[in-house]
């Protein structure tokens, strides 16, 4: 057995395997997202203990339990708020937020909007299956008009939200869409999203094989077209990205819609963090400063 000085261990996929196996339905799109995140972390060689995966509630939000990193499985819709606190308290960590379309665009919609304009440095992956799964099949904010579910048995009459256009309007600085059936492409987008300094939004088509019989793998496969294969697309062009975000139907773009790198991330914009992460700053307030606080009141 080798002894002596330890050299940094090369991380492999098994290092990121969680304590339990996923309990998703066989064939669920979320397996593909989990595998792609694990692959991306291996390729980027980010040590497990420096990654925090944070989720809300729902099928896809069970994600942190299935990967070996620090994890927080929080409240329905609140993962982005928790993650913002985490990142601001220790910006040395890689923060990945995972959840579903109901969690992110429904109950968590307000935090989604404000996290984007704040440009919090994290990767937000929405496993978008256009349905509520864990509550056994109700209409979600991304369900298409006309879709019949248990909560809208005569068909949805409400227009779905367009997550990509919404993110563009709200000021997210990295916006992409992946497909759980396109592993290599998805892994690449996750890597880019982790490396981007600022709010990275990744909407992933992650089919629900149990409750959504409209938006299946078979439905998506012929439709998804990679923006990377489109020579006319330029991710630096916001207007172009907005136009592409509106495409839906026989052709649905996936890939990186938009990225800008000229906006500081929230933690970079706050001088309080100039001296390093808050969590490492255990110092008491210097006596002359606290004396000043009291003297102001005298």
């Amino acid at each position: 057995m080798a002894t002596g000085l330890a050299t940094p261990k090369q991380l492999v996929a098994a290092d990121f395997k969680g304590k339990v196996d996923p309990d998703w339905c066989p064939g669920c799109g979320d397996f593909g997202v989990l595998a792609a995140v694990q692959k991306a972390l291996v390729e980027l060689q980010i040590p497990n203990h420096n990654v925090v995966t944070i989720s809300g509630i729902g099928c896809s939000s069970n994600f942190p339990g299935f990967i070996n990193t620090y994890g927080m499985h929080t409240l329905h819709g609140r993962a982005l708020a928790v993650a913002t606190g985490m990142k601001l308290a220790n910006h040395d960590l890689t923060v990945i937020v995972t959840g579903g379309d109901g969690d992110g665009f429904g109950i968590g919609g307000n935090h989604f909007l404000h996290s984007m304009r704040r440009n919090v440095d994290l990767l937000y992956i929405v496993m978008d299956n256009q349905i509520y799964g864990l509550t056994t099949g109700q209409t979600s904010p991304t369900s298409r008009v006309g879709m019949k579910t248990k909560s809208m048995p005569f068909g949805n009459i409400e227009a779905p939200v367009n997550p990509i256009s919404l993110a563009l309007a709200a000021g997210a600085t990295f916006i992409a869409r992946g497909f759980s059936g396109e592993q290599k492409h998805l892994t690449e987008l996750i890597k880019q999203g982790i490396q981007h300094k600022g709010f990275s939004f990744l909407d992933v088509f992650s089919p629900c094989v149990t409750y959504n019989h409209d938006n299946t793998y078979q439905w998506f496969r012929p439709r998804v077209k990679k923006l990377e294969d489109d020579p006319a697309h330029d991710p630096a062009d916001w207007v172009l990205a907005m136009q592409r975000s509106l495409l839906w139907g026989e052709e649905i773009p996936i890939g990186k819609f938009f990225e800008r790198t000229d906006v500081p991330a929230l933690h970079e914009a706050e001088p309080v963090l100039n001296e390093g992460a808050l969590v490492h700053n255990g110092a008491k307030i210097p006596a002359e400063v606290s004396r000043g606080f009291i003297e102001e009141l005298m």
């Binding site: 304590k19 606190g85 985490m86 308290a89 309080v272 606080f293």
Partner: protein, 596 residues
């Protein structure tokens, strides 16, 4: 009886009630006098009516008192509302050009100021306020120099010309009063003491800074916003990350996220915002990630009376979030205590890895009090509990994945590793989980594990109880009447006890600071030996009385309650006690005479 002197300044919002109030407060505190200030105001930015009471004296002043010595009405409305409250020995200084006095009680001195003759009112819109300041100080027997130096500081930024103009106007008022009005019978003394004057909100914010809070976030909500304002203004000097968040749901979850990363984090709100936070408290309890939430109570329910005080949130705090979990709830007794309680509650919340709630109210949050600077201790005891911040610490882990975040222990406390520490990766979940953090709530549902985890968390209650001292009885053991209060009523009940004792009715006081843990047995032990017990509180239903009964089965002899939005004045309690001792009633609801 203690010597005190109270000034009431009334006018429309935007008329400049605050500035003369601040100047009086500064002059009093620099003379080494104690003071208490309470501003009764409305939820409007301009107009309406606001009434500021400043009470001062050489000894501790704990509440607004019963009597006004000097009334300064800035408009006719304020004159009409308040003149009738003045009694013999008091005075009213007013602008004779614009305000008609009405009829005052015998012995009340009316002091009309010919404002347009004493100052150029076309140049200075608040000349009447400055003249009244000068006149008032002359009648109190305070030298002009004190006012001159405060005015110099007040208007320094606006330049020398503005300073000398205001000093000139103040001087004119001062000299006019010296020549034309009777001075007050007892001039205000001076002492060698020097006090800081601060609100409860500033005290709690500074207490947070002293406790080592590194993360503070909030959504603006009266009457808690003062905490955010102090934090935001001092964040960079104090090294605190301060964020204004989209809503209170975001606030509490962001604070929990930061705390989970390993920093002390705090947030403040009022009842409505707290209602939005309550699911987050459950998250803190379940993940065993401490967080401290301040609730500054205002009159409810719903939007209620946003600028008025009440002690109406107790049951919301007791019942916040569903399910059973350990929590601590503390109600500071005064403004100095609002500072001190923050490091204390952080130590308990962190040791026991649970949410801590500070229950303030508008009276404390926005009221101001003179505090001895020695009571603002920036070196309090800090106990962060069993926190693992480096891999080398003895932590129940051999570094080979054996670390159990929710390890079952006798104390119920499991060592808490923060993200970034090698060898301790785990998931903290809002779902019920096993010692490893693995969910048991879905397909793995396991009654044995659920019971074990529930009992592990709830075992912390025993430790919490031992960490917090039981309340003590103040005053003579065998007093005729025992007044029981909680939180902000401490000062007014204390003064009521003194007045009662003076009037031949001996009284003592049991004031509750820690609501959870309550120490019911210690309270029962005191109350069983009391002769006549009355619970005093600022709400309709007797929330504390009901809580005490639910915990101890104790039923007091009577109740004094007030739910009109204004705090108690000492005579409200004194008169109610007398009424109850004659057997006339068991429930007194005093009327608030000062119409604001």
């Amino acid at each position: 009886m203690r010597q005190t002197f109270a000034i009431g300044i009334g006018g429309a919002a935007g008329q400049g009630v605050a500035t003369p109030g601040d100047i009086f407060a500064k002059i009093f505190s620099r003379r080494g006098l104690h003071l208490n200030a309470y501003n009764a105001y409305q939820s409007i930015i301009r107009g309406g009516h606001t009434f500021l009471t400043i009470r001062t004296g050489p000894e501790k002043v704990t509440n607004m008192g019963d009597r006004l010595d000097l009334l300064i009405p800035l408009n006719q409305d304020a004159m009409n509302r308040h003149l009738g409250l003045l009694t013999a020995g008091a005075a009213c200084i007013y602008n004779a050009d614009t305000i008609k006095p009405g009829t005052a009680a015998a012995g009340v001195q009316l002091c009309p100021l010919p404002v347009s003759k004493l100052a150029d009112i076309t140049r200075n819109k608040v000349a009447q306020n400055t003249l009244a300041l000068g006149a008032g100080l002359s009648m109190m027997g305070i030298g002009f120099q004190a006012l001159e130096s405060v005015l110099g500081e007040q208007f320094k930024k606006k330049g020398e010309a503005v300073v000398s103009e205001n000093v000139g106007i103040a001087r004119a008022g001062y000299d006019y009063a010296t020549a034309n009005f009777q001075p007050f019978a007892r001039p205000l003394p001076m002492t060698e003491n020097r006090y800081a004057v601060l609100s409860g909100n500033v005290a709690m914010a500074m207490g947070g800074a002293a406790a080592g809070v590194k993360f503070y976030c909030a959504y603006p909500m009266s009457p808690s916003t003062g905490v955010l304002h102090w934090m935001a203004a001092h964040a960079r000097k104090a090294g605190i990350m301060v964020r204004q968040v989209e809503d209170e749901i975001g606030v509490v979850n962001m604070a929990i996220g930061a705390s989970h990363a390993g920093v002390r984090s705090m947030c403040a709100t009022s009842g409505g915002g707290f209602a939005l936070m309550s699911e987050g408290l459950g998250l803190s309890a379940m993940m065993e990630t401490p967080v401290v939430v301040i609730d500054c109570q205002r009159a409810g329910p719903s939007t209620g009376v946003p600028t008025k005080t009440e002690q109406g949130d107790l049951w919301q705090m007791l019942g916040a979030a569903f399910g059973d979990y350990p929590r601590v709830i503390a109600a500071p007794l005064d403004i100095a205590d609002s500072f001190k309680i923050i490091p204390e509650i952080f130590n308990i919340a962190e040791r026991f890895q649970c949410p801590g709630i500070v229950l303030s109210d508008l009276l404390l949050s926005e009221g101001r009090l003179s505090v001895d600077p020695k009571d603002l201790d920036f070196n309090p005891v800090i106990d962060r509990g069993e926190l693992i911040t480096t891999a080398s610490e003895a932590s129940g882990s051999d570094g080979n994945g054996a670390y159990k975040r929710y390890k079952i222990t006798d104390s119920g406390i499991s060592p808490r590793a923060v993200p970034g520490v090698p060898g301790h990766t785990h998931t903290a979940a809002s779902d019920e989980h096993d010692e490893d953090g693995v969910l048991i709530s879905d397909e793995f549902t396991n009654p044995t594990k659920r019971r074990a985890m529930m009992e592990k968390r709830m075992r912390k209650v025993v430790g919490i109880e031992a960490a917090v001292p039981p309340p003590e009885l103040w005053g003579p053991r065998d007093a005729e009447v025992t007044l029981i209060g909680w939180g902000s009523t401490q000062g007014v009940i204390e003064e009521a006890c003194a007045i009662l004792t003076e009037q031949g009715i001996s009284a003592n006081q049991l004031q509750i600071r820690w609501l959870v843990p309550l120490h019911g047995d210690a309270i029962l032990d005191i109350l069983r030996r009391s002769r006549h017990t009355i619970i005093v509180e600022n709400n309709y239903s007797g929330q504390f009385a009901r809580y005490l009964r639910s915990e101890t089965s104790y039923v007091p002899n009577g109740y004094i309650r007030k739910y009109d939005g204004e705090p108690f004045m000492p005579h409200h309690i004194v008169e109610a006690v007398k009424e109850q001792l004659t057997g006339k009633t068991k429930l007194s609801v005093p009327a608030h005479e000062i119409m604001v």
